[in-house]
């Protein structure tokens, strides 16, 4: 009886609970600000770098106007970029134009550069989305299978297989598929076959990495103490997998998605060009060939924004999904 009184006396209330909402909002605000700063830094660097390179080239105005521009276009570029004035003023003009999203006209396509990019964006997004879904399904299945067998022999050869598969560059695979399916640069542009092959090529490149990473997170999650606790309370293997191992490991793997998108966009440049898929990547590759500077600049800009938007979105999702990331003040004694 004295014991019961003691219990009530020392009854632990726990820490004063701050509203979850406050902690979460502050955390999200900080992450978004961080991403915005990163984006700004990247854009600044890219713009400065391209300014330096342009300035160092033989005829900046011609370069800026784009190859194949008429003399009139070159002259107007000369004026628009203020290439007569002092260097610092030129730099500022350059920056301001980029900030105003004024990238000029493409002499090759006879259209506003930014517009061209905007038109092609949905195609790339569609390709990327499909690849992400396919990769997600395959990589998670393989990764879970692999991660749960961490100590066993099957792990060894499966791992080696993945590593070797990953070593076949998307470009080489794409070309082989190109050959095998009898495509020529001109045939069946934009067809479902080309789309499927492009997806396949990109997925081939992405799946082994993601699978290996997922295997790592799954193997790690399965070793955690709380899995043992659940098992000690009679959890079946299935309950353990779906209730405790997967939620935690997939959460960790979620952080991966941002990097995957970045890599995908990178690879998409080559793959879209190869399969003639009319997306932003193909535009970039083509513009490099034709020396279409305005379009190149616009594309890099848009892709940079896209990449950091994805990172920010992933940050938000992680914040919403992982309770530990909501920084409520840590309770005393913890």
């Amino acid at each position: 009886m004295a014991g019961a009184a003691l219990v009530k006396l020392v009854s632990v209330e726990g820490p004063p609970r701050e509203e979850d909402g406050y902690g979460l909002a502050a955390h999200i605000g900080k992450r978004l600000a961080y991403r915005a700063i990163q984006l700004a830094a990247v854009l600044l660097t890219a713009t400065t770098l391209s300014f330096i390179l342009v300035r160092l080239s033989a005829s900046p105005a011609a370069l800026l106007a784009g190859a194949g521009a008429t003399p009139a276009q070159v002259r107007s570029a000369h004026l628009a970029y203020g290439l007569d004035g002092p260097i610092l003023r030129q730099y500022l003009t350059f920056l301001v134009r980029a900030l105003r999203l004024d990238f000029g006209q493409s002499p090759v396509h006879q259209a506003v550069a930014l517009e061209l990019v905007r038109q092609r964006l949905p195609a790339t997004l569609a390709l990327t989305a499909v690849v992400l879904v396919v990769t997600g399904l395959v990589a998670v299945s393989v990764g879970v299978w692999l991660g749960l067998r961490a100590g066993r022999p099957e792990h060894g050869w499966a791992f080696r297989l993945l590593l070797t598969g990953q070593s076949l560059p998307a470009l080489a695979l794409g070309l082989v598929l190109f050959h095998v399916f009898g495509l020529t640069p001109a045939s069946a542009v934009g067809s479902p076959l080309r789309f499927t092959l492009a997806v396949l090529t990109l997925a081939w490149w992405l799946v082994p990495r993601s699978a290996r990473f997922t295997a790592g997170t799954v193997a790690g999650a399965a070793r955690q103490s709380w899995v043992l606790t659940a098992r000690a309370m009679g959890a079946t293997s299935r309950e353990l997998l779906w209730g405790h191992v997967l939620p935690n490991s997939l959460l960790a793997a979620l952080a991966l998605v941002g990097v995957q998108v970045a890599f995908l966009l990178s690879a998409a440049v080559v793959v879209e060009w190869l399969f003639g898929w009319p997306g932003v990547g193909e535009l970039l590759a083509g513009s490099l060939h034709t020396g279409d500077f305005p379009v190149v600049e616009a594309t890099v800009f848009v892709l940079a924004v896209l990449v950091f938007a994805v990172y920010a979105a992933v940050d938000l999702t992680l914040a919403a999904a992982d309770p530990r990331l909501r920084r409520t003040p840590s309770p005393a004694g913890v």
Partner: protein
Amino acid sequence: MTGPMLAQEMGLSRRLMPVPAFPMPGLLIGGSIGLMLVAVLGLIGAGLIQEHVTPTQRLLAPGTLGHPLGTDQLGRDVLARTLGGFRWSLAVVVPATAIAAFVGTLLGLAAAANRGWTRTILESVTESAAGFPFFVLAAPIIGLAGRGYWPLLMVLGIVSSAPFAIAVFESTWRGRYPMGLTRALHAVWRALPAVGAFMVADLVVAEVCLSFLGAGAPASAPSWGNMLADARQSVAAAPWMLYVPATALLLTVVSANWFGEGLGQLWGPGPG
């Protein structure tokens, strides 16, 4: 480790993944053999002259006398050119990796040795560089600077320093009390080779892709990227133009990846 840092590891700092419980010695051995083979082939390639343009002998199939692996659309011998490709790839990628390792190590050590704002800035710079699509940055720069050996080398080197910075930082950072210089250098010495091997694999592929797009090697250089670009035009008529350099590329990348993974397991942090 925060979410974004965790994300860097995929594909960039693979050695940080939990090591499989069964060590796989075959990887290191196989990788080493492959890399030595690559080096030998590169040396052979260095001694050959590949630029015999003989239009009368274009698109010859493999097995023709004097051209064991056929010729391309300009009559150049495919075997000779592929061997030259080994040399070209090594000549670009090895110095680029060295540059990246050097810059990355400096960045990583600087980040580990400092605290507060300096470290935060360095970390976020490295993180943005590592997380940014490589091509979207590299291709336009070379496009502006012009094709050629040196622009290619510099771009590849500098843009790829982020993974080294991350690896060096991770192995020398001890929280409150930074390690002494000798221990740090030892840790760096252990951390770099595996990352370096993976970087070589990635850079070989990157160089090939850049050259394929026309934003890398000069048109006449025996880069596999150039060969693949040529192959794309004539693949139906002359498939050997595709498969020979593709096989060479595959051999190189597999060897480097296996070597890197094997080394990472040997010297790595141990099971997660």
